[in-house]
């Protein structure tokens, strides 16, 4: 058999990130602690370079390479661009936080970049094998990141829990993949899709495989009832890592669901729609209800994430291109909000002080009116109040659900989002209606301040003019 070299051009961004990450790993060894900012700078350059490469190779028509294991299409490129953007913001926000806690090490950035690489592979995977490869690369980086603060018992516990449950989920996913492979004889998503479409595959095995896949995906997304790890990990991990976990990986998880369920098993939509409805309703209900009882803001945002995952599933389960576009829009918007929310939390923390409780936000309006305003915008956006982009995200998802005649599902969604509005309002209440308990001046470095302002204002700007991003999402899912 002759070996034919595959076309490497579409994989250029991945190759670039991998090369530079390895380079950073080597360079970092030779740096002294005071020169650590070089590692940080290089990490940002990697993301910038990858973004440029993705933009340069952007094409609307999908290209598969690596013997069908890899696909480059508009959806992947769009998601990757937002992954770079979110990761760059994460690296910037956490820089000062890490420095104050003696956690400012090369590992954070190297692991972060490996995670980015994993996400890129997930986003562009075109076979069940490469999906799994990307997912494991991301997950292993995340397990290690959660444990970076070795001396913290909470963080170690969170890392342990995350690792055990994450491995279980990976096992489920792998078991499902093996069944799909058994039923269709291939891991290539195109071949799987064709086989399922012609019903030449054994249906019972296929549906069993689907169940395991959905369970595995629900674990990774954090959908109820497979959400147990999420609050503990969000709370236990250092805020810089929570910030990372809460943002870009959601984009990759969305791609994961799209690739496996829609691209691969799209013809089984009738089967997985039922499962996703249950997951979505439980996530929206439980996420919003339990979040009310939280006093720790990181834990509260974890439950809020669970409810957002439920909303995201609403779009996918509609099974229409408009629904997928709506979900993608929702995911991107959610990531922008999550980066902003955790970003504000992280800049409020100082050396020796963690801003972790909702009470730590008391009187923020007196300490820093601008940060208070940004946080209010982010909270209102998460609650889905208009003129903020969070409203449009909820609206398009509900639109997709009503389109397929599931009006009751839309009603469940809005009722719980009203209940959910309460805990977002409570944060705004602390910020604006209470007197500050601390008087320390909030110090922000110039670049962090610019980034976080841009982040918050983006939610307003997108709220006034959401068309561009919506159209972009719709165009990306056209094929």
């Amino acid at each position: 058999m002759n070996f034919v070299a595959p076309d490497f051009m579409p994989v250029l961004p991945e190759i670039f990130v991998l090369t530079l990450t390895c380079l950073i790993l080597v360079i970092d060894v030779f740096l002294e602690q005071r020169q650590r900012h070089i590692t940080y700078g290089l990490a940002q350059i990697t993301l910038l370079g990858a973004a440029l490469l993705t933009l340069l190779t952007y094409s609307q028509a999908p290209v598969t390479t690596m013997f069908g294991h890899y696909i480059k299409d508009a959806m992947g490129d769009l998601l990757k661009l937002f992954i770079y953007l979110a990761s760059a913001a994460v690296f910037l926000y956490s820089r000062d936080y890490l420095r104050q806690r003696n956690l400012f090490k090369g590992e954070y950035y190297v692991l972060g970049l490996f995670g980015v690489l994993g996400m890129m592979i997930m986003v562009s995977a075109h076979s069940l094998l490469s999906v799994y490869l990307g997912l494991e690369l991301l997950s292993l980086s995340l397990y290690a990141l959660v444990a970076t603060d070795r001396d913290s018992p909470v963080a170690s516990e969170a890392a342990m829990k995350y690792f055990v449950l994450g491995s279980l989920a990976s096992g489920m996913l792998l078991y499902g993949i093996s069944m799909i492979y058994g039923a269709t004889g291939s891991v290539d998503l195109q071949v799987v899709a064709d086989a399922v479409g012609q019903q030449s595959a054994n249906n019972l095995v296929l549906v069993f495989g689907l169940v395991f896949l959905v369970v595995g995906l629900a674990f990774k997304l954090g959908a109820v009832p497979f959400h147990m790890w999420l609050p503990d990990v969000y709370q236990g991990a250092p805020t810089s890592v929570t910030l990372y976990i809460g943002s870009a990986p959601k984009l990759a998880a969305f791609a994961l669901v799209m690739r496996i369920l829609v691209d691969g098993l799209g013809t089984l939509q009738g089967d997985w729609q039922q499962m996703l409805i249950i997951l979505a309703v439980l996530s929206i209900a439980l996420g919003n209800l339990v979040a009310i009882a939280q006093t720790n803001i990181k834990r509260m945002l974890a439950y809020s994430t669970i409810s957002h995952v439920g909303f995201l599933l609403l779009g996918i389960l509609s099974g229409t291109p408009e629904g997928y576009a709506a979900s993608m829009f929702y995911t991107i918007v959610y990531v922008l909000m999550a980066v902003g929310a955790f970003g504000v939390i992280i800049v409020l923390s100082r050396s020796g002080f963690e801003a972790e409780n909702i009470d730590d936000f008391k009187g923020l309006n007196d300490r820093s009116p601008w940060l208070a305003f940004l946080m209010m915008m982010i909270m209102m956006s998460m609650a889905g109040v208009p003129f903020l982009v969070g409203f449009y995200a909820k609206w398009v998802v509900l639109q997709a659900v009503v389109d397929i005649g599931l009006v009751w599902l839309a009603i469940v969604g809005v009722v719980f989002s009203v209940i959910g509005a309460f805990y977002y309002l409570r944060v705004v209440k602390c910020i604006y209606f209470e007197k500050p308990e601390q008087s320390e001046v909030i110090e922000l470095s110039r670049d962090t301040e610019i980034m976080i302002s841009a982040n918050g204002l983006l939610l307003v700007v997108l709220g006034l003019y959401p068309t561009a991003l919506m159209t972009w999402c719709a165009a990306a899912l056209l094929n």
Binding site: V385, T467, T471
Partner: protein
């Protein structure tokens, strides 16, 4: 030349941008902030005047229209326009905001820039609600309004402000989300979010009833109608004076306006079928809430309950049309009910705003809203007492004041529908007089109640200006309501014709 200007956009965005500018000026120089805020408010009012002077009262068509595609994927457009219903309410909004800025002049000491900015932004959003002709645009303005009001009550309110403001927010939010689902549902039928397309959309009776209830939830909370009114007394009592004024004078009107713009024309058959429900709720508001108002110890709470009772009149007037058609077989008098409701909305905007400002004047001096802490105020504040008596008379519907016109029209037209409806509605004349005049008697007249009252100083120039502006409006509308009613004749007639025509397939 004037017709070329995007007048409505200007009226919406000028105060919003002005509010942002006020925020950036900051608290360092309070005088400059207040001057800027007042300039913005007055200019916004001046910009809105051409809407009235250039309004073509002969047509029910939308005027001053602006149309820009906004979210083409869902056929959502930035579509503005006004007719005889929305135009007077826009002017009322711009006018009341000027008064609110004046009212906050010396009283608000804490975070003055944010206070002024919140009201200016609120003004733009409320005008947006009245001007929007696209359902999503309407919804966006409708919901966005909650944020500034939430902050106004929460930051500058009284001791239980947090409870009151969260209750206010969640109540209104819950009411309106069902409306969103109804709008999405209709979009699937009409492929458009244009409100005017919804008016023409044929719907079967089940759909109409469900959509009607979605609207009812959204707007009944806003009006507020009995039994979903409980947020209002809390919000009013805790809100700062300016917040109460805007709540009573404008945001309640948005609920009434919603019935005219959405519920009646979009679901006429369901409205006809369920008009007994609205009329019952309205009459309960008029009679029962009137009785509740009678026993209040807190002046603001009393006026809040009086607002609910008066708004009951508005919804009664809007929905009496079907009763008239059923009992007389003709439509004569139906238009008067809707027109009366509209006059009542504008008039109540002036009167309730004025009463809240009066309470504010007293509260600023004595720091109490309890009726028992006053008595004999007329002895120390004669000018103020004159104003308060005037507004009290207007609130109880004395002929010659604006309060009389709307109530009289509604009662007259409900007589055509049923004697008993008219009878119960007329109870407001007695109850309204009872609780308002008794309030005035206990606060204004009699012996000087205590030391605080004895030391009161009469209203200063600033307060005289704002109260006399309102007094002029109340009297003018009372003796010469024609400028207001003539602009809406065409729209009202059009609506009456529209709602009696069935939309069933």
């Amino acid at each position: 030349m004037l017709s070329e200007l995007p007048l409505l956009s200007l009226v919406i965005w000028f105060p919003i941008l002005g509010g942002i500018a006020v925020l950036f000026v900051g608290d360092e120089n309070p005088v400059r902030v207040k001057a800027l805020a007042l300039t913005v408010a007055i200019l916004s009012f001046l910009i809105s005047i051409p809407l009235f002077s250039h309004f073509d009262a002969t047509t029910a068509a939308m005027q001053f229209q602006e149309f820009v595609p906004w979210i083409p994927a869902f056929n959502v457009n930035y579509h503005l326009g006004v007719d005889g219903f929305s135009m007077p309410l826009i002017l009322l909004t711009a006018f009341m905001t000027v008064l609110v800025v004046i009212a906050g002049w010396e009283v608000i000491q804490y975070r003055i820039a944010q206070y002024m900015a919140a009201f200016l932004i609120m003004e733009g959003l409320m005008i947006g609600v009245f001007a929007a002709l696209d359902a999503i645009l309407f919804y966006v303005f409708f919901e966005a309004m909650l944020i500034p009001m939430f902050l106004i009550i929460g930051i500058w309110g009284g001791p239980r402000r947090v409870y009151a403001t969260i209750k206010f927010f969640l109540y209104t939010f819950l009411g309106s989300v069902f409306m969103l689902i109804a709008l999405i549902y209709m979009y699937n039928q009409a492929s458009s979010f244009e409100i005017l397309d919804f008016h023409k959309l044929p719907l079967n009776i089940t759909e109409q009833v469900l959509i009607f209830f979605a609207f009812l939830l959204g707007f009944a909370v806003k009006v507020p109608m009995w039994p979903v009114h409980t947020w209002l007394p809390d919000a009013h009592v805790e809100a700062p004076t300016g917040g109460s004024v805007i709540l009573a004078a404008i945001t309640l009107k948005i609920g009434g306006y919603g019935f005219l713009r959405f519920a009646l024309p979009i679901t006429p058959d369901a409205s006809a079928m369920l008009d007994w429900l609205i009329i019952t709720m309205s009459l309960v508001a008029v009679v029962y809430i009137g009785l509740v108002a009678l026993i209040q110890q807190d002046m603001k709470k009393l006026i809040a309950y009086s607002s609910i009772a008066h708004m009951g009149f508005v919804t009664l007037g809007f929905f009496i049309v079907f009763g008239i058609e059923r009992s007389t077989g003709s439509l004569s008098g139906a238009a008067m009910g809707i027109e009366g409701g509209m006059v009542q909305m504008v008039s109540h905007g002036f009167i309730s705003g004025a009463l809240f400002l009066c309470v504010g004047v007293l509260y600023d001096r004595v720091h109490s809203r309890q009726i028992k802490d006053y008595g004999g105020v007329a002895n120390t504040m004669p000018i103020f007492a004159a104003f308060m008596v005037l507004f009290g008379m207007a609130n109880s519907g004395l002929p010659g004041t604006s309060g009389f016109v709307g109530e009289f029209m509604v009662i007259l037209s409900s007589f055509k529908a049923s004697f008993w409806i008219a009878f119960l509605a007329s109870a407001t004349l007695i109850l309204g007089a009872a609780y308002t005049l008794w309030l005035v008697k206990r606060v204004i007249f009699g012996e000087i109640g205590n030391q605080h009252v004895a030391e009161l100083e009469d209203v200063n120039t600033r307060e005289i200006i704002m109260l006399s502006l309102l007094a002029a409006a109340v009297l003018l509308l009372g003796v010469w309501p024609d400028p207001l009613t003539s602009v809406m004749h065409a729209s009202v007639d059009n609506l009456v014709q529209h709602v009696v025509a069935s939309k069933l397939l």
